[in-house]
Amino acid sequence: MATFEWEDVKIEVDEDGFMEEPDQWNERVALALASTEGVDELTEEHWKLINYLRDYYQKYGIAPMIRKLCKETGFPLKKVYELFPSGPAKGACKVAGLAKPTGCV
């Protein structure tokens, strides 16, 4: 566990840079986490993806299936990789403040 600081944001993250306490997530935290993913600016499309992930996570306690994510946001997988170069699980989920996916993900 380590403390990650970015401008005025100060959060606890694991060795892969995922939030230790997803409850402390807010939009500033998203910006801070995005900076670690090579995403300097969060556009409307980024937010659409992040908000969908967060809503699903709050309802079900896990990220949605990738096919569902693509269908519900209308972004093909390629577009998700354009928005978050590390991909949906390692990139988008991290910025949305979800815990690191485990298992064969």
Binding site: A2, E15, D16, Y60, G61, I62, A63, P64, M65, I66, R67, K68, K71, A89, K90, A99, P101, T102, G103, C104, V105
Partner: protein, 504 residues
């Protein structure tokens, strides 16, 4: 196998440190995978205690006694090891790796070895040797090609497995695996990817809707249906990653009409115990057996996953009832049998692109499943090609033995472990690489991305989904686009071969 040595640049990237220096210092352990903090004091003594306890409660002694007598260290295995072929590092020669543990066994657990060691005052286990083992045993992908080549029959992967098991008992195991198995055995969700039951149900309902839209057939995922013939356990990550594989499997069962179910009590085929701990292997495989019995199912059906299939097929009889244990099938065996029996109709040439098949080590090395997927693919693909070598001689994806779940070693996996596989894939020129294994799929996707290969990694059932011909009575009339179409006689049943969506 031709030499596939990596370049200096690739070497630098693959072996770059992944951990903070303070973590290495605190844990007194220099490895590339993350490890949860553990007691660092008196490590050699605790290693030997764990080793002694495992020997006492297992049959490893017979194998080790045989191995130390037979081991000639001839290095024939090095010709087959894709890791050694890539690195050229003598430390990566399989019998050198095995010797790390065999030397500890010889020195501390045989009479001759301990007498000689005491008289000469040499060879005792040190912290440095533990460090060497912690690094070396996780550089191996446990593909077992070396065992095929060994003239005296030494199973190097078994020794690696035992080494990892002992290390895990003193706290040295990749965190990625430990965290996943902890959730599986002690967590709220009870599975490695922490998928809660409501999320599972939501996902399956979503897939059912999609399939109805695409195929105009009511394809269902039966949940908690008691008395089904098959109780299904995919790698649980399939519920997040592999929509098409699951859809294909549900479509096959709908077409054949056989009964199957997914249990909400337990629905994960993954068993990382196979990679690093017999204790965990037993506990996980027991969950599979218990859930099948709870649902009064007849057979255990494992999804597209090599290690999940091997761990259930070979260890369910060991730990859950011997000869009375539930029979275990891999989904490809079922689909093949159903097709051969005429219960499943497939559209020839449904896949026009070039397709090749990657054999997952855990189902191919022992010649368990070799021809079934090939025959199915040849039945639906216009351009099917083989990789060389293949079948029981296949080359590992480079992420075997649990290493694929360790994200921090991805550069190592795709530059070193997967080097030979990348060359093989390139040589086929295939558009689709069929890899019926959750481990292989993840690794190969990362491999083609990092190596810049233009190929798509899919499961067998992803392609079968596009080729299944449903009986006419299952196909529902197309839903009219609007009310005006209600009397339109054109709203006829849509057959899959005429449905545009089938090839999407």
């Amino acid at each position: 196998m031709r030499t596939t040595r990596i370049t200096e640049e690739e070497r630098a990237k693959a072996f770059a440190p992944t951990r903070k220096p303070e973590v290495t210092e605190r844990q007194q352990l220099d490895v590339r995978y993350h490890v949860e903090d553990f007691a660092v004091e008196d490590r050699p003594r605790r290693f030997l205690e764990a080793f002694a306890a495992i020997l006492r409660h297992s049959n490893y002694r017979f194998a080790l006694d045989h191995f130390i007598r037979m081991s000639a260290k001839c290095s024939r295995c090095s010709t087959q090891c894709q890791v050694y072929q890539a690195t050229g590092d003598p430390e990566d020669i399989p019998c050198k790796r095995s010797e790390l543990l065999l030397s500890v066994y010889r020195r501390h657990f045989t009479l001759a070895g301990s007498v000689r060691g005491r008289i000469l005052g040499t060879g005792h286990l040190t912290d440095e040797k533990i460090q060497e083992m912690a690094e070396s045993f996780w550089n191996c992908t446990a593909c077992r090609r070396c065992s095929m080549e060994c003239p005296v029959g030494i199973d190097h992967a078994l020794i690696t497995h035992l080494g990892r098991y002992i290390l895990s008992e003193i706290g040295i195991a990749p965190r990625a695996l430990v965290v996943s198995t902890r959730e599986q055995l002690e967590g709220k969700t009870g599975n490695t990817s922490a998928v809660p039951v409501p999320a599972l149900v939501d996902t399956l309902e979503f897939l059912e809707e999609d399939m109805e839209e695409e195929k105009h057939v009511a394809i269902k995922f039966p949940i908690d249906k008691e008395g089904a013939e098959f109780v299904f356990f995919p790698a649980v990550s399939d519920f997040l990653m592999e929509a098409e594989s699951l859809m294909g499997i549900a479509a096959v069962f709908t077409a054949t009409g056989d009964s199957w179910t997914i249990g909400t009590g337990y629905f994960d085929g993954i068993n990382y115990g196979l990679f690093y701990s017999d204790r965990i292997l037993e506990r996980v495989v027991t969950k599979v057996s218990d859930e099948t019995k709870r649902l009064k199912g007849e057979k255990v059906l494992i999804g597209e996953c090599g290690h999940a299939s091997r761990s259930a097929k070979y260890f369910l009889p060991v730990h859950c009832g011997g000869k009375d244990a539930l029979p275990v099938y891999n989904i490809m065996e079922y689909t093949y049998q159903a097709w051969k029996a005429g219960k499943l109709k497939l559209q020839p040439n449904a896949i026009p692109e070039r397709v090749t098949y990657h054999d997952p080590c855990n189902i191919a090395r022992q010649k368990w499943i070799l021809e079934q997927p090939r025959e199915l693919l040849k039945a639906i693909c216009a351009d099917y090609v083989e990789m060389t070598p293949n079948r029981e001689d296949n080359i590992c994806c480079g992420g075997g033995g649990g290493t694929v779940s360790i994200d921090e070693i991805r550069p190592y996996r795709t530059a070193v472990g997967g080097k030979a596989k990348a060359d093989q894939i390139r040589a086929t020129g295939a558009k689709y690489i069929v890899a019926p294994c959750a481990n292989c799929k993840k690794q190969l996707r990362e491999l083609v991305e990092d190596q810049g290969i233009d190929a798509e990694i899919v499961g067998l059932h992803d392609l079968l989904y596009k080729a299944i011909i449903f009986p006419d009575h299952m196909i529902q009339p197309a839903v009219p686009a609007d009310a005006e179409d209600e009397d339109n006689p054109a709203a006829e049943p849509v057959k899959p071969d005429s449905a545009g969506s089938a090839d999407e």
